[in-house]
Amino acid sequence: MNKAEILVIGSGPAGLKASLSAADQGAGVTLVERDPFLGGQLVKQTHMFFGSKEQYASERGFKIAEKLTAAAEEHPGVRVLKGAAALGYYDDNVVTLELKGRVLPVSYDAMIMATGAQENTLMFPNCDLPGIYGAGAVQTLMNVYGVLPGKRVAMLGAGNIGVIVSYQLLQAGVEVPAIIEAAPEIGAYHVHASKVRRMGVPIYTSQTVVSAHGSDALEKIIMVELDDSWQPVPDTVRELDVDVLCIAVGLTPLTEILFQAGCEIAYIPELGGHVPRRSAVMETSVANIYIAGDVSGIEEASAAMVEGTIAGLTAAFNLGYGRDSYEQKIAAANLELDALRKGPTGEKIRTGLQNLKKTGEVRQ
């Protein structure tokens, strides 16, 4: 059987940082990625990041992916398996992978799950019409493969993903006639929202899509205004001709393998739904299984990188590596996380983490 000292599943910002931090401490890392390339969602981010120098502020996401990918592929302590999808968890610390059409069991001493999240959908009549796509899916099509999703694209959701993808649609030369947000306020950072507004894209708050229409693919959507209790306001219905509607209404952590492994799971809406219970240093309730990034709670890529660092350091420490530098490095990482989560934009994640903590101590 294939043996991995530390098995890292997922090579987005969390998985890459987890791999590098554990390998830097001297541990042997096997990094598994189902895509044919490393970087996860970073590869399609054309905007510059916030945060501090440690989280690559003022660099574009895809450039960060290039740097971290090169670092992981060149690191003598990291073995990279691309095009390998994790299929399931088995007793005695074994995970099976699908690699080149074959099933490959891998046993590990420690495992760091950094599987990320998947996009939420929204139910309304004809919501399954071709032309209605996840906003992240459109971002992949456009920014990774250079294919335009359509000619006129409406965005449902004015959180960071909705607003940033709208800007990227404009960059690619696509018309964006509307960003539609059911909440009374824009959820995205205002620097992003004001940028798309300056480029002439209206953001309609307290409005939603009630139905979609088209014969074989999307031709138009029907919008309506919402009152204070989120109910449709009579006589406010209007039509908008679009060939694509992007859905950007949040993400759900990809926790299947953690459920299988028997990790204790809590339902915390602020973190995106069902998330594993975990210690302050990213240990789950099952011995030798750690988490980092969106699978532990939906947050920004910058925080995912720091969580990855913490999970990697802790997994290595518990296997006997980096005993001298551990406390100091964890303290530095915690300061970075605190800085990222301060202020009004961090309120949701702070509340979510407090609520998760209220479910009790995590015991391995």
Partner: protein, 106 residues
């Protein structure tokens, strides 16, 4: 439709190749997902829902949702949003659940 010029990104494409979609010859780039090549060629309906035969297209782009499943080189239920395109591939709209090893699905 493909992006011709982009202010920030450069697209590294594989070599131009051809494949068939329901018998029609279509061009694409080697290694890109089959669904991306189809979308660039204007194909938006990739599959149909099981019971009501409603048209289904691209949705998640990460191989999770099954909305893009098609028959590729005779193999049913291939996730075309993540399956790399190769020269000479036969891509077909799938009818029903497909047949694997001579055993039809329910």
């Amino acid at each position: 439709m493909r992006i011709q010029v982009h202010p920030i990104l450069e697209f590294k494409k594989g070599k131009k190749i051809s494949f068939t979609y329901d018998g029609i010859t279509v061009e694409g780039y080697e290694g890109e997902p089959i669904a991306a090549a189809l979308h660039a060629a204007g194909v938006r309906v990739l599959s149909h829902s099981r019971n009501f035969k409603r048209p289904r297209g691209f949705w998640c782009a990460i191989g999770n949702c099954s909305s893009c499943n098609m028959r590729v080189n005779g193999i049913p239920n291939v996730r075309t949003c993540v399956e790399p395109l190769q020269d000479g591939m036969t891509v077909e709209t799938q009818q029903g659940r497909g047949v694997i090893g001579g055993v039809p699905g329910e």
